[in-house]
């Protein structure tokens, strides 16, 4: 009998039919689809927007650093072993200027205990954290900034009681413009504000500074004329080379009391510090996505329980256990990826809104979107696995009876 047993053509569906059948199952319950995809969408949107916003901000910063130049080095005194503030020798500035590869060099010196106030009526303690500095005439070219109002110190004004304010300092002192009537009370005498500087990202200490000419500073407080910061612009190709000799050049007697830094690195490091916050939000996004996945699993378990009769019907139409399993897996994956898709779109949109509001370019790396969708696909598969296996193991008769 076995020899003439008729051959059976196996049950078959195409992948397209599988997706279509799964889609039919989802379309029948649109509200549930929306609600269970929402959790995943929110999580993915949070992750994509965090990565997008930080990419956009980094792109802006990179462009900014590029424009500012990465060839500025800052030389200052290091605290000595006794914890006292050290200082650089007066000869440091010309010595550095003579180093091969240095394009320009300019010094400032903080005037210790000299404060600046809006008027002579302001209590002494309320100095607003503004440092008074003596500054060279070529400072702006070296650090790469310019006045937004008035003009910088020059040969004529460096001897006079005039002051140029950093961007933040001007705001703190309530000085909005320049002119003979704009005066501040600096070191027990009135100084006229002749200039206000633009923000100086590579030398943020200048933003909170009040700059006076070197000769004008001479009579103020206990000023001895030692430079405290020397800004050094180098040949862009020789930054490392120059950097290695700066300490010894600035203070040949004790090079270990000199600190040399590269402000563009500090800006990049600040960005890296902001990334800590990013990882926090990113972590929250991951939690949201996982919770969303649990929601999808929950929906699928419920769906399988509710649709026993459909499962029974499909078995009677010739579906194998694998067909049923694949149908519910596909539903879970579609549901999850749908959430992922909405999340990616939402995240890109959020990034665009935020970046545009900050005047940044909108940058969402392609791999962020791709990873978002891949994660949701895997998540959907994981969430759907148990319900799908459970559906496939139902006995057709019990399923049809709704038991």
């Amino acid at each position: 009998m076995t020899t003439d047993r008729p051959r059976l053509d196996p049950s078959r569906t195409s992948p397209g039919d599988l997706v279509r059948v799964a889609g039919d199952g989802l379309r029948a319950r649109p509200m549930r689809v929306v609600l269970s995809a929402l959790g995943i969408a929110l999580g993915i949107a949070a992750m994509v927007s965090v990565l997008g916003i930080s990419s956009s901000s980094r792109a802006t910063l990179d462009a900014q650093i590029e424009a500012l130049g990465t060839n500025l080095l800052t030389v200052g005194p290091d605290d000595d072993v006794f914890g006292d503030e050290g200082h650089l020798p007066d000869s440091a500035t010309p010595m550095i200027g003579a180093v091969d590869g240095v394009e320009s060099v300019s010094a400032v010196a903080v005037l210790p205990k000299v404060k600046v106030y809006r008027t002579d009526q302001v209590p002494e303690a309320e100095s607003g954290g503004i440092a008074v500095m003596a500054a060279d005439l070529d400072l702006l070219e070296t650090v790469g900034t310019h006045p937004v109002a008035g003009s910088y110190l020059n040969r004529a004004t460096r001897d006079l009681p005039v002051v140029v304010l950093g961007h933040t300092a001007a705001a703190r002192l309530g000085v909005a413009g320049v002119g003979p009537d704009r005066q501040v009370f600096l070191g027990e005498q009135w100084f006229t504000v002749t200039g206000i500087l633009a923000p100086t990202p590579l030398a943020p200490e200048l933003d909170t500074a009040a700059l006076v000419g070197w000769p004008a500073a001479d009579g103020l407080g206990t000023f001895e004329g030692h430079p405290t910061t020397i800004y050094t612009r180098t040949d862009p190709d020789r930054v490392t080379e120059v950097r290695s000799v700066l300490a010894a050049t600035a203070n040949p007697a004790s090079p270990d009391q000199v600190s040399v830094s590269r402000p563009s690195d500090a800006l990049a490091a600040k960005q890296a510090a902001d990334a800590t916050l990013d990882s926090l939000v990113l972590g929250l996004g991951v939690v949201a996505v996982v919770v969303g996945g649990v929601g999808v699993a929950n929906t699928m378990v419920l769906s399988v329980l509710e649709r026993r009769e459909e499962i029974g019907l499909r078995r009677s139409l010739g579906a194998t256990r694998a067909h049923v399993r694949h149908q519910f897996l596909a539903e879970a994956v579609i549901l999850s990826v749908l959430g992922g898709l909405v999340g990616v779109l939402g995240g890109v949109l959020l990034t665009a809104v935020y970046a545009t509001a900050h005047g940044w370019p909108t940058v969402v790396p392609w791999w962020v979107s791709a990873a978002g969708l891949a994660v949701t696909a895997v998540l959907g598969g994981a969430a759907g696995l148990y319900p799908a296996v459970r559906a496939s193991r139902m006995s057709p008769t019990e399923a049809l009876a709704g038991r």
Partner: protein, 231 residues
């Protein structure tokens, strides 16, 4: 009729449910190609168990079953699925139509596990809907249809793949008598076209309209009555 190919063969079939409930005792039954037969009995008689066994949805605990020449105990679960896909069409009392799909899509789903491309499924569905007189309802959803129309859609789905065997489980159970008569007439039409049709029913009127009746009581076959000669 006696000369037809054997489509269903039961030999000493018993079914013992887990928990010790014996639903069927030693039932033997032969159905030949082209027959229209009713399996009749009160609820709890074991006729639904018999239908599940005939439909390969369940396996017997004793005896042997062959459907369309296939010995069921030699088939694995996937092969039983294939047998259902190609050989058996089911009609259920509760219709089991997908509420979210149009009538024509519901009917086309009858071929979804037969490897038939969608365009051909839809063409076949349109043809079979015409046969059951529901072409005008093709784009409607099941909830827009009367009970009788829904059962005709279910019948269309059952026969879209031209299976040699159609199993109808209380096909008129949820219908009023007029709609039931239309559905029954449709099953007679199928029979006239050569399809083997087995109707499970507890309704004596339905049973009386069928040429052969097998009565089940307490899990045993008690009467097998054929009208060999027209009255």
């Amino acid at each position: 009729m006696t000369g037809g190919r054997i489509v269903v063969e039961l030999d000493g079939v018993g079914k013992l449910h887990p928990g010790g409930v014996r639903a069927l005792h030693d039932v033997s039954l032969t159905v030949r190609s082209g027959e229209l037969l009713g399996i009749v009995g009160p609820s709890g008689s074991g006729k639904s168990t018999l239908l599940n066994l005939l439909g390969t949805l369940d396996r017997p605990t004793s005896g042997r079953i062959a459907i369309d020449g296939h010995e069921l105990d030699r088939l694995d679960d996937d092969e039983l699925s294939a047998l259902r896909a190609r050989t058996i069409g089911f009609v259920f009392q509760q219709f089991h139509l997908a509420p979210g799909l149009s009538v024509v899509d519901n009917v086309a789903d009858g071929l979804v596990y037969c490897g038939v491309p969608r365009a051909r499924r839809l063409a076949a569905a349109a043809a079979v809907l015409e046969r059951v007189g529901l072409t005008h309802r093709s784009t409607h959803r099941p909830h827009e249809l009367s009970g009788g129309e829904r059962q005709r859609v279910a019948i269309a789905r059952a026969v879209i793949g031209r299976p040699p065997l159609v199993l109808a489980d209380e096909p008129t159970g949820n219908l009023d008598s007029r709609a039931g008569a239309v559905v029954l007439a449709l099953l007679h039409d199928l029979h006239d076209d050569g399809t083997t049709v087995v109707v499970i029913t507890h309704d004596e009127d339905v049973a009386r309209s069928l040429p052969r009746r097998v009565e089940i009581r307490d899990g045993r076959k008690v009467v097998d009555h054929s009208e060999r000669t027209p009255a």
